[in-house]
């Protein structure tokens, strides 16, 4: 690799990082507006409004993320006196880095560079799916060590909860992804997208999709699984002692992880950047305006299709947050270990059996796998009872001080 290649690589990485953070900024606005709508409010609608003649104002609120960023930048930056200084300071970075580097393995679109490559896929790794899982599982460190280093009991509880929760849901998440890997017979992300040319994997892997959606929400510790920062019990949870930009980094990593999880779900189950008619459009443009412009059109339209699908899933995330109350801790553990993990194992077994028995019947095998998955899911929902409250707390009598 020559120096020019390295410079191009660095520029690409900076571009990707900026894109991810911009996406985060506007996701917060998207979420605030939607949450407001769900709660019959209006939400932030002032910053940056453009006045029109006649007293009307349009695009209200589009500068709200910038206003939030300025506010956070100018807040006072405090390090608690009894915090473990170095660990306290590196924790926000630890949280953000996995959230950003996860994006390199996700194909954001298809912009052929003429040499068999793709401009919108930064790292075509052999084991792309495993890379995604690995980086996801690193995401918990930021939370866990932030909770520990703050030297605050509420932060600490948040950190302990985070590590237990992420470890528990990682298994179900990995097994749900494994179903897709078996369906595509490859760990390569581009092969998984190519395998969905005819039929999106949400059909054969419907059960896997449901498991992935639940487990990924728990993995990024978002409502209804946000016990890590349950404000009624833990003040602010792991980030109680963080302020200013350090808090903003946690906030940012949480949202970028969420968007990345939605992007991974789109890639695994909803066909990635594929959309009916894109290839025909690109071919028509290529024929009339040349291959370069055709490739550019293909790249931009496929990126648009990808972002559209991610937006749809993001809407579902906001919807879940606005609808579902937070689960109890024992419910969280029961759901992860006793419901999602067995269902994911059944899904893997069904996928393996059907695809071995019917190796050539692509559509039939897909429909059969999907139908069995649906039946398993329905049976699971029907026989699964909501766990009763575990109220068997042993109280330890407090030692009284007697002089």
């Amino acid at each position: 690799m020559d120096w020019l290649g390295i410079v191009i690589l660095i520029i690409k990485c900076i571009g990707l990082t900026l894109a991810a953070t911009t996406l985060f900024a506007y996701f917060t606005l998207f979420e605030r507006r939607l949450l407001a709508r769900f709660q019959h409010r209006i939400g932030p609608n002032r910053a940056g409004a453009i006045p029109l003649p006649g007293g009307r104002r349009v695009l209200g609120g589009w500068l709200q993320p910038a206003a939030d960023a300025v506010k956070l930048f100018f807040k006072e930056d405090v390090v608690p006196a009894l915090a473990d200084r170095w660990v306290y300071l590196i924790a926000p970075g630890f949280a953000v880095v996995p959230a950003l580097i996860i994006w390199v393995a996700i194909p954001l679109g298809y912009w052929p560079d003429g040499q068999g490559g793709n401009y919108l896929h930064f790292a075509p790794i052999d084991v792309g799916v495993l890379y995604l899982l690995a980086v996801t599982s690193l995401g918990v460190y930021g939370i866990a060590i932030a909770g520990w280093a703050s030297n605050n009991k509420y932060s600490m509880l948040g950190g302990v909860r985070a590590s237990a929760q992420v470890i528990s849901y990682e298994l179900a998440l990995g097994l749900a992804v494994l179903g897709v890997v078996m369906q595509a017979q490859s760990f390569r992300t581009e092969a998984i997208i190519a395998g969905q040319g005819q039929l999106w994997y949400i059909v054969p892997q419907f059960l896997g999709f449901v498991i992935f959606l639940i487990a990924s929400t728990a993995e990024v510790v978002r409502a209804p699984f946000d016990l890590v920062e349950a404000e009624q019990e833990l003040v602010g949870g792991y980030n109680t002692e963080y302020g200013s930009m350090k808090f903003a980094l946690f906030f940012m990593s949480e949202y970028i992880k969420l968007i990345a999880m939605n992007a991974i779900a789109v890639m695994l189950f909803l066909g990635g950047w594929q959309f009916p008619g894109l290839a025909e459009l690109a071919a028509a443009v290529s024929a009339s305006a040349g291959d370069t412009i055709g490739a550019a059109v293909f790249g931009l339209t496929s990126l648009g299709a990808f972002l559209l699908k991610v937006t749809v899933l993001s809407f579902v995330s906001v919807w879940m947050r606005a609808t579902l109350p937070r689960v109890r801790y024992d419910q969280l553990m029961n759901l992860g270990w006793k419901v999602l993990l067995p269902l994911a194992l059944v899904n893997v077994a069904v996928t393996a059996i059907v695809n071995v028995l019917l190796p050539d019947a692509g559509l039939l095998a897909a429909l059969l796998t999907g139908a069995i998955g649906l039946v398993v899911l329905l049976v699971g929902v029907a026989i699964g009872q909501p766990a009763r409250a575990q109220s068997s707390v042993t109280l330890i009598p407090r030692a009284t001080h007697q002089s």
Binding site: D126, T136, S163, A164, E170
Partner: protein, 167 residues
């Protein structure tokens, strides 16, 4: 380029290992161990074994260290304990064994002409190749390991049940 990456990674791995042993705080030790594991994952990449890279990150960095941190944080065991070291015999033993290992490595490294490794075949460390080896040539060890892990899981459940009955 490759040499530079190797030198940096190796230095990071060694620093992490030494700092892990020397630091008094268990959480710091766990974090330095994480640094060491991550550096070793990068070394696997340099050896053209992306599968091992991912597995190293998922299993060691993503699960084992998180469990270490969880237990240490839950028990509040990270502070350095005052009082006499009851495991005093461990340090000299570890020192002797470490020197023995180093000597063996030096004998191997200096004794024979290692030279460049034979060119690896295409797809040597690929998941398919590893899976094939695991399920054909190494099937028995694989199954035995699975039984071992199963026994450990059963043991945990049994211990937990006994504690529940007593309590």
């Amino acid at each position: 380029m490759e040499l530079a990456v190797f030198a940096i990674t190796a230095a990071v791995a060694l620093t992490g290992a030494v700092a892990m042993v020397l630091s008094k705080n268990a959480v710091h030790s766990a974090l330095f161990l994480l640094l060491n594991f991550s550096a070793i994952a990068v070394l696997y990449l340099l050896l053209r074994a992306p599968f091992l890279f991912a597995i190293q990150l998922i299993v060691y960095a993503g699960a084992i260290i998180v469990l270490f941190l969880f237990v240490v944080m839950l028990l509040g065991a990270e502070r350095h304990e005052e009082g006499a070291d009851t495991l005093g015999w461990q340090q000299p033993t570890a020192l002797v064994m470490g020197i023995g290992l180093l000597a063996a490595l030096l004998v191997v490294a200096l004794g024979g002409p290692l030279g460049a490794p034979a060119g690896v075949a295409e797809g040597y460390g690929a998941p398919e190749a590893i899976a094939r080896a695991l399920f054909t040539d190494a099937l028995l060890p694989f199954q035995v390991t699975a039984m071992l892990i199963l026994a450990a899981i059963v043991g945990v459940v049994v211990l937990h049940l006994r504690e529940q009955q007593r309590g």
